[in-house]
Symmetry: C2
Subunit: 333 residues, 2 copies
């Protein structure tokens, strides 16, 4: 059976989430796939490490005295926890900016606990609450460092976004005229390209001796709590496998990851954009892949919340579950 | 191109929702289809009119002095608006029951405005707030009328559910041993059967001279505001086409409808369970179908919110849309 994520009710499959995925080596060999690894879709927030590359390459971090925490937050889809807001504020202050310079708008926090607290307390949400506020702070830093206008830094025509596009092209190996540009939920550029090319970029992120790649992978692995937040898969798998994996979610069912010791990058897209099932899919794919690639083992415990997500009725009784089934295709193994 | 619902971002399709649907006459002729009309899935809340049939057939309404409003609410997935709670309370009182007898648990109201108010006010949600409280009140009425135990009325083994199963078998034409039983979100029985058989039941609901079918279709058409609520598709299409259509949503991407003058019942299932796209799919299918069947016209205005749903970023700019594309198959036309 081809790999997919199912939602069950009793003994029957009620809904199905189809998946396309590519598993690629740093030298662009496709070692495994699901569905259509050539599928062109938006990378969404899983592109953030490559949107942050110019911060290292262009000397922006050094110029403003920014450290690994700010770099991690630039790569994050954070949960709007207090620590995330604090790092975002410090980031902006070091760049000489304020929250008013951020182009992103706020939204209900991605962290379930934070979202509950916000509703209970009636908290007013402002742009630094955006899960993308670190990425936007980085774009402001890039613009200020180069002396570009801060106004409109988020738009496709701005030199800031041209510089970032060059980074995305470099790491994905896709020419700029083959990348489709859309507007992301946070107002800045979103890049559409083949899932396989996204996986290649992650494979390179995990193995490249390039100082910028090393700085980003070390920052993301050092601060998993900044990359997402409590009770979210990116954070929990990076904590369960410290120094062994980078995992980064994107909206509409995208997930990218790299396991350097296994020599592979991976990206998956849930066809219908479902966000509950993308982490379930990534965990199941890693469990299938890593033993065959001689990579590190995904721990047997600590990630139960993502193995099978129980579906409960309004009295709390479990009526079914979300689970991954089927095998990925291994053309190159 | 086969019929589907797409989510776009800029010029690109970002996510796809696959659909299976069946369009059936009251004499069980399949006049049109999408995907797999034989797909077996859970009917969820779109089964409610047939779960309510025994209330008319067994004389329960007359016995307790219940009217068309209570019957409509028994067929509803209501938004927990004040009027819904009031009818639910009156329904329970006439049956000699209280909210404490309801087996369903509460949940965040399906009406967006009500959900916001509840969060703002910190309202304590209780079982009558369940979108299914009318259905459950009806089950309590059925149990009390027949002298069956009120305790456990929601469970598959209870005579109440055996009676309702007989109704579902009668209207769908599917034998009891071919119907898969699951537990619904509201704790009671959910029925899995072919989408085509669900469409047949709706076709019969719309045309049968049977007094119970007539009472239910008249109640649903007379009180569209009770069937769902403000800003929801079931209510809005029934208000836009008064006396011409019954539309009933089910969870996990199910929608059933009947257009008596066109001589068809219809049921669709969004494969991945998405709830934003099921109404978009139903409206698009009705727009394609009804002119070919000589049925009533879906009004050109008043349903714009369901033709294309704009996707906005966190600053309110439209970045894409949810829209139906492609043609349904018309094997029998």
């Amino acid at each position: 059976m081809s790999f997919r994520v199912e939602l069950t009710r009793g003994d029957l499959v009620e809904s199905v989430h189809r998946v396309s995925a590519a598993v690629v080596t740093p030298d662009d060999r496709l070692v495994a796939a699901v569905g259509d690894p050539g599928l062109v879709t938006y990378w969404r927030s899983a592109a953030k490490p490559f949107q942050a590359m110019p911060l290292v390459e262009d000397g922006v971090l050094d110029h403003f005295g920014l450290g690994a925490e700010e770099l991690a937050l630039a790569c994050a889809s954070h949960s709007s926890e207090a620590v995330h807001l604090a790092v975002a504020e410090r980031f902006l202050a070091r760049v000489g900016c304020t929250e008013g310079d951020l182009a992103c708008g706020p939204h209900l926090p991605l962290g379930a606990g934070v979202a509950r607290d916000v509703a209970t307390l009636g908290t007013t949400l402002t742009p630094r609450w955006s899960n993308c506020s670190g990425k936007h702070a980085g774009m402001l830093a890039l613009a200020r460092h180069h002396g570009w206008s801060l106004t409109g830094y988020e738009a496709a025509g701005h030199p800031c976004q041209q510089r970032i596009l060059a980074s995305v092209c470099q790491w994905t190996g896709v020419a700029a005229d083959r990348i489709v540009i859309g507007v992301d939920g946070c107002t800045t550029v979103s890049f559409a390209l083949p899932v396989r090319s996204m996986a290649l970029a992650y494979a390179r992120l995990g193995s490249s001796p390039d100082p910028a790649a090393r700085a980003i992978r070390e920052a993301m692995m050092a601060y998993p709590d900044l990359i997402a937040g409590a009770g979210r898969f990116c954070t929990d798998i990076m904590r369960a496998m410290p120094g062994q994996v980078i995992a980064k979610i994107g909206a509409e069912g995208v997930y990218s990851a790299v396991v350097p010791a296994a020599g592979i990058g991976i990206t998956l897209k849930v066809e219908d954009g479902d966000m509950r099932s993308s982490g379930v899919a990534l965990l199941a794919l890693l469990r299938q892949l890593l033993p065959r690639l001689g990579g590190p083992t995904v721990p047997a415990t600590g990630l139960e919340a993502y193995e099978r997500i129980p579906i409960r009725n309004t009295r709390g009784t479990v009526t079914g579950e979300i689970r991954a089934v089927g095998e990925l295709q291994l053309p190159g193994l």
